[in-house]
Every structure is written in structure tokens, then in C-alpha cells.
């Protein structure tokens, strides 16, 4: 990544990555969405979070160094700044390429007392992976998450933009089968939904 870091002169802020050093991948639609978002805030910096959501969708669910650099370039911020933001938040996939579906199991308080840990153990055993890991076939990533704030439905799991609960082990098995049969990636689909809800009606369908 060192070629993306540009050190300016003394007392100068680090510069944003240059287009000629990058292999820009945002689609026309993504560029239009980012342009629309820029009108929602008094400065471009505030677009970093939504910009990263766009990148997460455009780069197939994974915020690679290139993805982060593209956001930094398009918003004219330094690479380090945008990377620092991206790695702070748990919903950006910055560690490794996630599976096609991310299964987020809440084991927080209400879910804990309503049987989330047996579900969690069941999933770990069934998929053969632990927290933050991805199955070898690239199908599932498993994550233990904190309260999803729908505790009336405990124990609860989030996949993509869906909350599913209350669940038992049989329900989890059915869910896995259903997900295996899906052609699209719920990780990418979720990022798309996040981007869409930011946009006003006229901005969503640029013609």
C-alpha cells in the first residue's frame, strides 16, 4: 500500500491518492450516488461513511486497500484518514474478503438469557469456523455481535438487511439451506440497501 501514501512538504497534510495511481472501479451509478450525497452535507468529509458503503457494494462486499483508496480519492481525503475511519466500524469488512453471507449472531444480554449461546455453538460446529472466520467455500462468515436492539425477538440473527428471530437450532439449519440456495450475496445486497436509504427519491433514479 506504500505507493498510495504520499507525503507532502513540511506542514502539509497528507495528500489524497491520485487517480493515475489507482484502478478506479466505481460504476457510473456509484459516481452519481456519491455526487448526490455530497449535496447533503456542507463538506465532502462527511461523505466518508456513506462513501465507504458505496465502495463496499462496488467491491463485492470487501473494503480492500484499493476500495478505501478510491473513496479517499473521490472525496479528496488522505488514504490514512479514510482507512482509520473504515477500520473503526464493525460493519465495514476490512479484515478479509467476507463470505457471500455474513451471519451475525447476537449473544448480548437478552439473547444470552434466551438461549443464544447454544445457537452460537451450533453454528460454529456446523460451519466449522469461529468468530470473524469464513468457510473455505467462501459461502459464510460468522460473527458474534452485540445487541441488535430487537430483543423482543431474542435469540436473534442478522443476515444482510434481515433480522431473523426468535430462532432455534432447527431454524438456523433451515436458514443456512435457504442462504445456500440464494444466487446473490446478502453482504453486497445489504450495502446497496444502506446506500439507497441515504438517497432522496429524485436522487435514486438518475436518468
Amino acid at each position: 500500500m506504500s505507493e498510495l501514501l504520499q507525503i507532502g512538504a513540511v506542514n502539509e497534510r497528507p495528500k489524497p491518492p491520485r487517480a493515475e495511481d489507482l484502478n478506479l472501479r466505481f460504476s457510473d451509478r456509484a459516481v452519481a450516488e456519491l455526487e448526490a450525497l455530497k449535496t447533503h452535507y456542507p463538506n465532502w468529509k462527511a461523505c466518508i461513511l456513506p462513501g465507504l458503503w458505496i465502495a463496499q457494494r462496488e467491491y463485492g462486499g470487501f473494503l480492500s486497500g484499493e476500495a478505501i483508496a478510491e473513496v479517499a480519492h473521490r472525496l479528496q481525503r488522505s488514504y490514512a484518514e479514510v482507512e482509520g475511519v473504515a477500520t473503526f466500524y464493525s460493519m465495514y469488512n476490512t479484515a478479509h474478503v467476507p463470505g457471500k453471507h455474513k451471519i451475525e449472531v447476537c449473544t448480548c444480554l437478552t439473547c444470552q438469557v434466551c438461549g443464544a449461546y447454544p445457537l452460537w455453538e451450533h453454528l460454529k460446529a456446523k460451519l466449522g469456523i469461529g468468530h470473524g472466520e469464513t468457510t473455505a467455500d467462501g459461502m459464510f462468515t460468522l460473527e458474534e455481535v452485540e445487541c441488535l436492539n430487537a430483543c423482543d425477538r431474542a435469540p436473534l440473527i442478522q443476515v444482510g438487511d434481515q433480522y431473523i428471530g426468535p430462532l432455534d437450532t432447527a431454524g438456523v439449519d433451515r436458514l443456512l439451506d435457504e442462504l445456500r440456495g440464494r444466487s446473490d450475496s446478502t453482504v453486497v445486497q445489504m450495502a446497496d440497501v444502506v446506500v439507497q436509504v441515504h438517497l432522496r427519491e429524485p436522487e435514486r433514479n438518475p436518468t
Binding site: A46, M91, E121, N149, D152
Partner: protein, 459 residues
Amino acid sequence: MRNPHGAELFCARTPAWAGRIVLKMAELKLLLEHAHESEFATLRGYVARGGYEGLKAALGMDRQGVIDQIKASGLRGRGGAGFPTWIKWNGIPKEKNGTHYILCNADEGEPGTFKDKQLMEQTPFELIEGMTIAAVATQGDVGYIYIRGEFLDAAKAMRRAIDEAYRDGYLGQNILGSGLNFDLHLHLGAGSYECGEESALMSSLMGERGMPRLKFPHAPLPTIAGLFDRPTVINNVETYCCAPYILKNGGEWYATLGAATKNSRGTKIFSVSGHVNRPGNIEIEFGTSLMELLEMSGGMQGGRLKACVPGGSSVPIINAEACEKAIIGYEEMGDVKTMVGSGGCMFLNDHTCIVKFIWRTALFYARESCGKCTPCREGTKWMLQILTRIVDGKGQPGDDQLLLEICKQIDGRSFCGLGDAAAWPVEAAIRVFPEEFDFYIKNGRSMVETPLMATMSPR
């Protein structure tokens, strides 16, 4: 400001000879009255059920008049701290020299709470109208609703409602022909509890890591320099949702609700979960007792009441005896050494191991600490280490005292409220259930021997 009939109401509900409320209260639905009618989430359905009367009333008053109504209502913030709402609104400079922001805290992350989720999904126009009223009162130009990234159903419902409001002239330029301009945007988080803290929320919205900012008196109040360094009103979803009803029916009227309590007015939504038969959101009038709330949720499931965390994971846990005495009100809950908090009420039955419950609470705070200040960053991890060794059966004599010592070092010494909120539950659990900690440390196993206890931790 106080309801003139307050004293009588108080007598009617709490006879001097009884230590607790005897008159049964039922649910009192104000914000949630029409929540289950899908029509209410459409502009037409909302207006047909009296929606936007509050905004129309506000547009007919001068700005101070709106703030006076909120003051008369006695409305206090529903996000956790219970700060009087009118003081925030009144703190916005009256002389305008640039943009004023209206910010909504919809980052609902407090474990046990799910009221903002339901409000956004089922009554989105209450929130839009409430924020617009705040804009009238404080000359707001732009509003943002900061929704946590996981809440996509809520975000979709808000998006539909905002688009509809723009189409029909309830948002945007010259709202309802009044000359008021107000734009409303949605902004989604990306997974961080700390972004619910108001200054961290502003950092996050401005495109930074979700870390809190320096506070008054070391920095100006957010009403002077908040979001993008401009005057900013920030309130919780439920707080804004109250405003339409206050403006519609008058602050005096609102203040008659909950008049039996010392200083809590109106209704409050409690998210009841845990070992109850009918978990869900219940809107009650302040002054209702905690046991009545439990009854409205269908009573205990699977065992007898052992403990309750009445206001979200951050508030001190109380035992069954204290539950019997607890009256819901900001000051009243203090009498049983707990708080209203955000209203995330978890009831626990006698199969629950308190040590394991507190271990999980500590795990939550250790994971969500933003890492900015030392007491919280190190303290939450340290408490977790100790609790983990206790739960693993390797507790050492004096561990409970050590935990209390660490709590003292974190509480009041942290940069933001998360540190305090991490210390309170641990401190309270050791105070209220000392025998459970003693037993676990001495014997290396839980005092509670039930199948549920066994499932409360991995391994």
C-alpha cells in the same frame, strides 16, 4: 409548570398508609396509539388521525411560544440522561448567523432497548413532525437522522416517509406555505455503540471515527458549536415524537400525565424483554409501578422474578424486592438505586446466574469502548478479564473487591458516559448479589444450578 391537580392525583394513587401504588394502571398509549395501523405510516393516514396539527399549531406561534409549550410540558430527554428538552432548544442562539442543525439520535444501541426501532418503523411521521417543530422553535435549516447501520427496516420506513413528506410539501422549501424551509436527511452508522453518545455521533456524522468530543466547560455546548461547529439540537427519537402531541394538546395538558411523580411528565415507552411471556414495547404513564409493567408484559416466564435491569444494560441491576417497590419516574427509580435510562427493561427469572449476566455485560462494554481514554479502555478490559476468570472457575479471593476498586477508578474519571455505564452494572451486581459472587469465587461454580445457567456462556 406543575399540574395543579398533581397533589390530589398523588393521593389517589398512593394512600399515605401504603408504601406502594395500589391503584392499577393500564398502558397509556400516546405515541403508540396508532402504531399497529399500517395506514399511520403513510402521510394520508397520519394526517387523518390528527397528524401535523402540532406543527400547524407551532407555525401559528412565535418561536419562544413553542419552547414555552415544551417547557410547560416538563418533557425530559428519552435517550437516557433525562435532560429537560426545552433547555436544549432554548440554548440555540436567537440571533441567527448561519446554519442551525436539528439532529436525531436514532443510534439505539443500548442492550435491551428497541423502542426507537418501532417508532421509526411504525410512526415515522411523528419523528418527522417532531423534528420540524424543533426546526420552527430553533430556526433549524437542516436535519439529520443518524440511524444505526443495522436498522435497515427502520431506515427504509423513514426513507419512504421522508420522500412522501417532500412530495406533499411537509419538508423542503416553504413548508405548508409558512415560509419555513427545512431539509431532512438520513445518515446511517456502520456498527458502533459508542456512536449513540451525542458528541461521538456528531464525530461519526462528520466522517470521523465514532469518538466523543471535548465537552462543556472545556468546549462550547453543542447548542453553540455542535455538528459542523454550528448550533445543534440533538434529541432521541422518542423525545422528538412527543413534540407533536405537546404542541397539539398544549404543554399544560401533557404535564398532567405522570403528575403523580416528582418530576417526570408524560408517557414513556419501555422495551420489555427477557423472561416475560409477552416481550415488546409498552407505553406507560410515569408513576406506574414496575410490577404493573411486568404484569402488562404477561408476567414472568419459566420461573420467579429474581432481578431486573429496568433501563438498559447501563443502569444498575435491582433484585425482586426492589422491583416490588419501584415506581417508574426519573427520581422515583433513584429510590431503589437504579434509573429509567433508555427504557430497556430486562426481567430475569431465578434460573439466571447473575455472575454470568454481569460477565456478558462487561464483555459488551469492553468490546464497545472506543479506546479514547485510559480508564475505560483499560478498565473495561481488566474487569472483563477478572469476570472471565471467575466464570471459568478460576476466581481468586478478593476478586469482587478488586472489581469494586476498578469500578471506582472508571466511574466519573472517563471521557464520556460509556465508562460510567460500564462501571455501574458491575458495582450494582456485587452490591445487590454479593453472595453469588462469593460462592462462584470460592467454589469455582455458579450458585444457580439450572439448565439455563449452563447456557449463559460458551464452552
